[in-house]
Symmetry: D2
Subunit: 293 residues, 4 copies
Amino acid sequence: MANLGFIGLGRMGRHMARNLIKAGHTVTLFNRSQAVVDELVAEGGKRASSPAEVARNARVLFTCLTTPDVVESILRQALEGAQPGDIFVDHSTIGYADAQRIAAMCAEKGVQFIDAPVSGGPWGAEAGTLTIMCGGDKAAYEAVLPYLQIEGKKLYHLGPVGAGTVAKLCNNLLVGIHAAALAEAFVLGTKAGVDPKVLYEIISGATGNSAQIERNIPKFIFPGNFEAAFSVDHLHKDVALAVSLGKDQNVRMLLGALTQQLLEEARAAGYGQLDEAALIRPLEELTGVKVRA
Amino acid sequence: MANLGFIGLGRMGRHMARNLIKAGHTVTLFNRSQAVVDELVAEGGKRASSPAEVARNARVLFTCLTTPDVVESILRQALEGAQPGDIFVDHSTIGYADAQRIAAMCAEKGVQFIDAPVSGGPWGAEAGTLTIMCGGDKAAYEAVLPYLQIEGKKLYHLGPVGAGTVAKLCNNLLVGIHAAALAEAFVLGTKAGVDPKVLYEIISGATGNSAQIERNIPKFIFPGNFEAAFSVDHLHKDVALAVSLGKDQNVRMLLGALTQQLLEEARAAGYGQLDEAALIRPLEELTGVKVRA
Amino acid sequence: MANLGFIGLGRMGRHMARNLIKAGHTVTLFNRSQAVVDELVAEGGKRASSPAEVARNARVLFTCLTTPDVVESILRQALEGAQPGDIFVDHSTIGYADAQRIAAMCAEKGVQFIDAPVSGGPWGAEAGTLTIMCGGDKAAYEAVLPYLQIEGKKLYHLGPVGAGTVAKLCNNLLVGIHAAALAEAFVLGTKAGVDPKVLYEIISGATGNSAQIERNIPKFIFPGNFEAAFSVDHLHKDVALAVSLGKDQNVRMLLGALTQQLLEEARAAGYGQLDEAALIRPLEELTGVKVRA
Amino acid sequence: MANLGFIGLGRMGRHMARNLIKAGHTVTLFNRSQAVVDELVAEGGKRASSPAEVARNARVLFTCLTTPDVVESILRQALEGAQPGDIFVDHSTIGYADAQRIAAMCAEKGVQFIDAPVSGGPWGAEAGTLTIMCGGDKAAYEAVLPYLQIEGKKLYHLGPVGAGTVAKLCNNLLVGIHAAALAEAFVLGTKAGVDPKVLYEIISGATGNSAQIERNIPKFIFPGNFEAAFSVDHLHKDVALAVSLGKDQNVRMLLGALTQQLLEEARAAGYGQLDEAALIRPLEELTGVKVRA
Ligand SMILES: NC(=O)C1=CN([C@@H]2O[C@H](COP(=O)(O)OP(=O)(O)OC[C@H]3O[C@@H](n4cnc5c(N)ncnc54)[C@H](OP(=O)(O)O)[C@@H]3O)[C@@H](O)[C@H]2O)C=CC1
Ligand SMILES: NC(=O)C1=CN([C@@H]2O[C@H](COP(=O)(O)OP(=O)(O)OC[C@H]3O[C@@H](n4cnc5c(N)ncnc54)[C@H](OP(=O)(O)O)[C@@H]3O)[C@@H](O)[C@H]2O)C=CC1
Ligand SMILES: NC(=O)C1=CN([C@@H]2O[C@H](COP(=O)(O)OP(=O)(O)OC[C@H]3O[C@@H](n4cnc5c(N)ncnc54)[C@H](OP(=O)(O)O)[C@@H]3O)[C@@H](O)[C@H]2O)C=CC1
């Protein structure tokens, strides 16, 4: 059994860490707030009081944090406790340039960095069925593969550092656009008099369907329950990172750029902490329509 | 067995007419170009030389044409041969106001009009598995239901005239946005160095998936074969009709409006007659990337 | 002195009619609401009780109404009183295809139609300094030129019927985009802490200036007075007509299409009857910023 | 007479430096490429071989460079030669956060930083009529005011560091949107058959006018001469900085975001080094229209 570390025990990370513990590994944990650490320590995890302490106890360190700045700052601290040969695996969604800058920072201490963003939501994290998209050294990837297989089901090594991030940003760009698109279609149909439940039944079986429609309509929008599984703020960060990757790659991204602004709108309306399905709410309020069932 | 009529034997209509013939009905046919009529007559259909002649021979008349103008003009001609009590079922995708105007025109002659747009593509038309979304008098709908059950699998009566059209336009609005969105995501990922085949494998199993991704990427974009199953021109028409419905209903449709212009771009680039998957081509050309596999 | 007619005595038309009366012409008037007719009759105009009655008394008929539908319906009624050789001059902003359809309807009765939309606002109408953009028969244009010279200062004959409309729609497309653009710039600057008065002083003297900035900021936005000189509803109509002309001409209009939706947003927010400067209000409300001075 | 420094002798900087020399000041110069330094040395400037050398010889240092990264790197080098009490005045257009970060870096060495972006183009720089928008310490601003008065005519102190940048970004956001807007209007009008020269005459005197129309149409677009006075790349940088400021300030910027992508399109089409008026060229090419006169 291996000595692993996990930093960032939020909506996603807590499940991934628990699955690693359950599989019998020694997992040293750090999190800003302590309640979730208490819980996981009760299940066999080990508490550390700093990122550096985690790194001292772990040969493979996993992180699942928020923005690129947070990831960089935590990993800088972790590097103080790391040894040459250690591997850092980051499950947060960060930018392409961020991944490369952080990898360079790690390389200075002889640590290998793998960007390993995930898709599948808290449900997938809990079930261990995540899609994990990795970029980085192939041998390092293979070294951590046994642990990734505990966290997820569909594992990909896509190329050098940043490649996992690219795939993840492409996916979440689509998540953002699709979430904004379904808002337009369902508000329009409902306002024009069609029963939204039947509309959902039709579209979810037809050419206009998307994974977002299947996720957002029945679980969040119909019941009017926008408690965050994946927040507007996170999706805003990801779409902004995708549009920014477009800028670096000189790819025109009209729908992406517009969707970023619609996420900005939802944030300005006070919905940043709600689930991304709440992207429909500004339009509902503007038009006086509620897509509920 | 019933006396039916079918006008408009294009990519969709020919399959629907054939299925009605195969089911044993007497189907009188009219089409602008004759080759397809020859074919269907060989299989048991009856040729007519005008829309009015079709109407004289049919108690239920199906149409599957292109733009609202064409539908209106053909049905005006058909009305000359119709009898009070006949039912006209239109499978074309037209506008909400168009459906209502045409229904009023039919009502003057005692003919009932059902807007019955479909989803499922030529494959679905051939297999008889279409989704058919109907608006109009409930009794009239029930009268034609046996024939609709030959043409499709998922049949909906959604309300008064125009209700089927609303559902269809909501679906195709999503088709348009999703087709434009996948262009951005796959050009971005490919340009940033990820293998588009793996990207497709990942996204089609993840939260960014859409029916359009599953349709357009493997069947059209990867092989670079843009022969139309559903043309850019038709999708442009539909998205424009949806945006126009938004105007009537006072619903702000930012992504819809932008997508209409991207379809305009594809038309201006000369791709109007290609399959709607070709929406990716202007962006491929701008960025020098080809998403092929 | 000539026998003229004027129908549509709204914010613009009343001033134009008054100027024609003041110049000594016999002007027969019709308007839906009567208060303004009373006023102009007191100044020398003649009241008519229908469009046809105006047409019977006038060899040149001016209209300044709202939407294409209203113009078409009023002119259809007027044609009942018209004589071959009469000229109809329409100052409303309508669509390109509308102008051509109405001209054809007039031609059937031997009446010539000139589309003659204007720019300059109620101020320009009052001062007789309007820009007037005409399309139609050159000789007919020259026949009415003496009256146009009373209504405006900058007079253009741009080509056959519809040509005046094209120029006007291009201008108002810019009006719409510029009005939406200044909202973004001034809300951004104000939110980021710059005094909007100084910001206005700078930008109005710099490369970012526009006629809309000079109109909307000091007259409407700073005082927070959005009483309509030119309403959101009218601008929405015009931008929609321009985008629709783009569709006919197969010109991609991304900013135009987006601006149409922002006008839709302002209408949905209840500001349709306010001045178009109110396009800034949804963004002010979203961001909690007021650009006032 | 004062000891001044100037780094960045491009399209703008060369004129500003020359005006300072002409006014009798001792101006030490540095530029990456030397031809322009030769010229200005011949007119009385002093050549330095590094940014640090400029700083050693100057109590007030002006810069007019390109991107935030370049400004930061050059000023970091300059600080090595600076003395406490020196003032750095940056005329480049950089971001709000950039200005603050650079000011903090300067403050560590006792140097005061003033962000002082300009508007007016090479013409204004040459004529000494620039608008200069400053942020920073009020006393420092007053200390450099005599030199700013040589470079420009309209001088503003808008608040603490970053305030000048905010005003400039608001202005250039409008420049970008207006440049993209005129492309749509003039391509549309020309395609619909109106003579672009007359269209320009009308619009430039009407409510749709903008400073961009007066600049881009007669000087660049009509003659088809897109040699850069202000490049697409620079405008892209500025609009991206404005949209990014919107992100920091949580202001939805739909037209801004779209315009950034249109600039991306022009860059991808190979027009980054052309004048920003070339923003019309992708649309001209798409539609087959040339707005020339
Ligand atoms: N293709 C698809 O996947 C789907 C299409 N639809 C909708 O179904 C309708 C038909 O689509 P599809 O079959 O693909 O279109 P096609 O272009 O393949 O067929 C169009 C039919 O309309 C006829 N037609 C066109 N213009 C005229 C005219 N001026 N006068 C007389 N007949 C005319 C054509 O005649 P001719 O054979 O002589 O050209 C042909 O029979 C459209 O409204 C479309 O939006 C809906 C769902 C899916
Ligand atoms: N305002 C401006 O700054 C400018 C306006 N325009 C264009 O000029 C036209 C008129 O604008 P404006 O004067 O501002 O508009 P107003 O709304 O002030 O006036 C509209 C006129 O149309 C009449 N009208 C409206 N609906 C009907 C109807 N159903 N039947 C009969 N009459 C009707 C109104 O009658 P009633 O008095 O009874 O309501 C009124 O006389 C529009 O096309 C506008 O786009 C062009 C340039 C500038
Ligand atoms: N042009 C305009 O109309 C306006 C421009 N501005 C802003 O002013 C600034 C300058 O614009 P402009 O003069 O047009 O730009 P130019 O591209 O003409 O000049 C850029 C200057 O920066 C120098 N430079 C660029 N990269 C580097 C580098 N890596 N290391 C050292 N020096 C470098 C160039 O040196 P070299 O000569 O060796 O290339 C040149 O001196 C920009 O921030 C722009 O946004 C503001 C208002 C108007």
